[in-house]
């Protein structure tokens, strides 16, 4: 008998009863504007969240974030993404994968208000590793793309991409003396530009 069949058989012969189908769970929801709830929760997770009125404000915000962290005016933008058309005066734009001291700009197609979470399905122009390679990730999010909870994202998404990344703040570890330190393997800093219109 194959290992597969032996394991399945071992489960079947021992089972005494089957538990009923679980009911649908409804999580408690926060009141208020979803983008505002998202911003509050994301900020609490050590991200730099900025509310912008329009996409026209994005270039200045990116330049300001880089200056504020004493970083070179260079960002990596994923080839094949809609961000390639973004005009960034005075900022050098590179297309290759970001290194461990680089900044990357990404576009989050969804976000979750409940936990302050960016949602990135992998795909064309959306390489999953870019959320982990750079030292700084600058995420662009439209306020209208914030949903209440993960279940809403799953409903909108349809079949899963090969990788779905939920990102709730910069990388961190508590492995030394259970004390949080930022920038373990992924970005040390995460900035989120929430664009209202």
């Amino acid at each position: 008998m194959s290992a597969r069949d032996a394991i399945l058989e071992s489960i079947r012969v021992r089972r005494l009863a089957r538990a009923p189908m679980p009911g649908i769970y409804r999580a408690p929801r926060s009141d208020g504007d979803l983008a505002e709830v998202f911003a509050k929760k994301m900020s609490a997770q050590h991200a730099d969240v900025r509310m912008l009125d329009s996409m026209a404000e994005v270039p200045a915000a990116i330049a300001d974030i880089l200056r504020g962290r004493n970083m070179a005016a260079t960002v990596h933008v994923p080839p094949g993404s809609e961000l390639e058309t973004l005009a960034l005066p005075n900022v050098e734009v590179r297309r290759g994968p970001p290194g461990p001291f680089d900044a990357a700009v990404t576009r989050a197609p969804f976000a979750i208000a409940e936990t302050g979470t960016l949602v990135y399905p992998s795909g064309k122009g959306a390489p999953a590793s870019w959320h982990f390679r750079p030292v700084l990730e600058i995420a662009i999010l439209r306020a209208g793309d914030v949903v209440a909870e993960l279940e809403d994202v799953l409903a909108k998404l349809g079949p899963l991409p090969s990788t779905l990344n939920l990102v709730s703040g910069p990388s961190r570890t508590g492995d030394i003396e259970q004390t949080m330190e930022l920038g373990a393997h992924g970005p040390k800093a995460l900035a989120v530009l929430v664009v209202r219109h």
Binding site: T117, S122, S162, N165, I176, A184
Partner: protein, 469 residues
């Protein structure tokens, strides 16, 4: 130190005398315990969430065969491959074959307790493959050649000074006079060294916190992002996990994701949650080209239909460990097993055998905190009590305990004798007391070395009860 669950009593005594363990164990309450309590408070109706989590896991455990078959079909449909392993040796062999077929020399690893359970690293090394642990805690203990002392915080037992010494000894290419006093300096040093490993590894191995049957997906939660670099940068990604991790779909996973980090570290969500389904798509520029899942039974299916079945609901959050007074006194290494604390006490006798791990089931005060904080409501003390009963009935319990219990049972079945015995004992204890406290007894007993015992007041409970009626 070679892990040996049978050595638990002596290892526990040694651990109690280890001054280096005290500060770490103190952080159980101030960090993990307080964090969970605050997160539960903020959530609101956490009890309904626990009920929902229990129902999902109960359904999964009692439909495991169907879900695994669905999961396998979903993985195949996405171009991945499922491998089944009855025991640790089959699992190790399956992983080695995948790595050899991929021509892998170096493999990065995300945190996985199942790969600890099957002792994967020494096996890979013996076969010429270099495993590199990338979770910071796992990396530290790999350098120190120690097993994890906690299931979510493997280097829980160490101070930052001990970590600094470890790095100074291991990273010989760096300036020996560099400052490693700050925790962040240690984190950044590990980040730099491990990033180079991610970039050059031939394959990556991660565990899975959950499997979604409908999607053929493995879900991992991390705070560091190491699991993702492990999956995404090498050509081959292997997920190694237990058969019990599968649930119906991502909606089930969404509920469990609300329970896991809150119960573990008190976070509302871990920094990263990654859903990994198959190899990279045709339009994608990164991600693995090959995707394998190794499903490990290793004793799990044998618990189905037994008194210990509920332990299969476990989502490995460590809340029971973090709230256990025994773990809090002796730490994780004393258990001599991959799973320690209450979850180890309930699981290990079932999968390792009672003869091997009965000490774990006895390492409990039955205070019940573990069951109170368990996110999926596993009746941990009840399962430990079951293993104690098995130990007793199969004659494995120590002679002193079986004789003592036999003597007690003999008296308890004879009310007159029992009443006489308790009256005599109460009077004798009073005679031996000074200023109301018994300070020593003429028997070989460690109790009085560290404690006194209040002397009985005079009449036994039964005498007082009779008088009152």
């Amino acid at each position: 130190m070679s892990p040996d669950p049978k050595a638990f009593p002596q290892a526990a005594r040694d651990a109690l005398k280890d001054p280096l363990l005290r500060p770490a164990l103190g952080r159980l309450k101030t960090h993990f315990g307080a964090g969970r309590a605050a997160a539960v408070q903020r959530y609101g109706d956490f009890e309904s969430l626990r009920e929902a989590g229990k129902a999902i896991r109960d359904h999964a455990v009692t439909h495991l065969d169907d879900l695994l078959v669905t999961f396998e079909a979903s993985v195949n449909a996405r171009g991945g491959t499922v491998h089944w392993a009855r025991d640790a040796s089959e699992a190790r062999r399956a992983i080695l074959t995948i790595l050899q077929d991929a021509g892998a020399g170096t493999v990065t690893k995300g945190k996985s307790m199942v790969t600890e359970e099957i002792a994967l690293n020494p096996f890979l090394e013996a076969n010429g493959i270099v495993p590199v642990e990338t979770d910071l805690g796992e990396y530290i203990i790999q350098l120190r050649k120690e097993p994890p002392s906690h299931i979510i915080a493997p280097a829980f037992h160490l101070s930052k000074e001990q970590v600094a010494q470890t790095f100074l000894a291991a990273h010989t290419g760096l300036d020996p006079k560099r400052s490693l006093e700050e925790r962040n300096a240690l984190v950044q040093e590990a980040r730099a060294i491990l990033r180079a490993q991610f970039e050059t590894a031939d394959a990556g191995i991660t565990g899975a916190n959950f499997l979604s049957a409908a999607d053929g997906a493995a879900v991992i939660v991390t705070n560091e992002g190491n699991g993702d670099l492990t999956r995404l940068l090498p050509k081959t990604h292997i997920v190694v996990t237990g058969i019990e991790k599968v649930v119906r779909d991502m909606t089930d996973v969404a509920v469990l994701l609300r329970l896991l980090p809150r119960s573990a570290t008190g976070q509302p969500i871990s920094t990263y949650v990654s859903v990994m389904a198959g190899p990279r798509g045709t339009a994608e520029t990164d991600g693995p080209e090959n995707f394998h899942i190794v499903l490990v039974d290793n004793g799990r299916s044998s618990l189905i239909g037994t008194e210990a079945q509920d332990v299969l609901r476990c989502i490995r959050c460590s809340a029971c460990i973090n709230h256990c007074p025994i773990y809090g006194a002796v730490g994780g290494h004393a258990y001599g097993a991959t799973y320690m604390g209450p979850i180890g006490a309930a699981l290990n006798p079932g999968v390792m055998g009672v003869a091997e791990a009965a000490h774990h089931a006895n390492a409990s005060t039955f205070c019940g905190r573990c069951a109170e904080v368990c996110p999926v409501m596993i009746p941990l003390p009840k399962i430990m009590r079951h293993w104690r009963a098995v130990e007793y009935s199969s004659g494995l319990a120590p002679k002193a305990i079986t004789r003592g219990l036999g003597l007690w049972a003999f008296a308890a079945k004879r009310p007159a004798l029992y009443r006489f015995g308790t009256r005599v004992a109460a009077r004798l204890l009073r005679l031996m007391a000074s200023s109301g406290m018994v300070r020593a007894l003429p028997v070989k007993n460690g109790w009085f070395a560290v404690r006194d015992f209040p002397a009985p007041h005079g009449k036994t409970f039964q005498q007082q009860w009779k008088a009152r009626r």
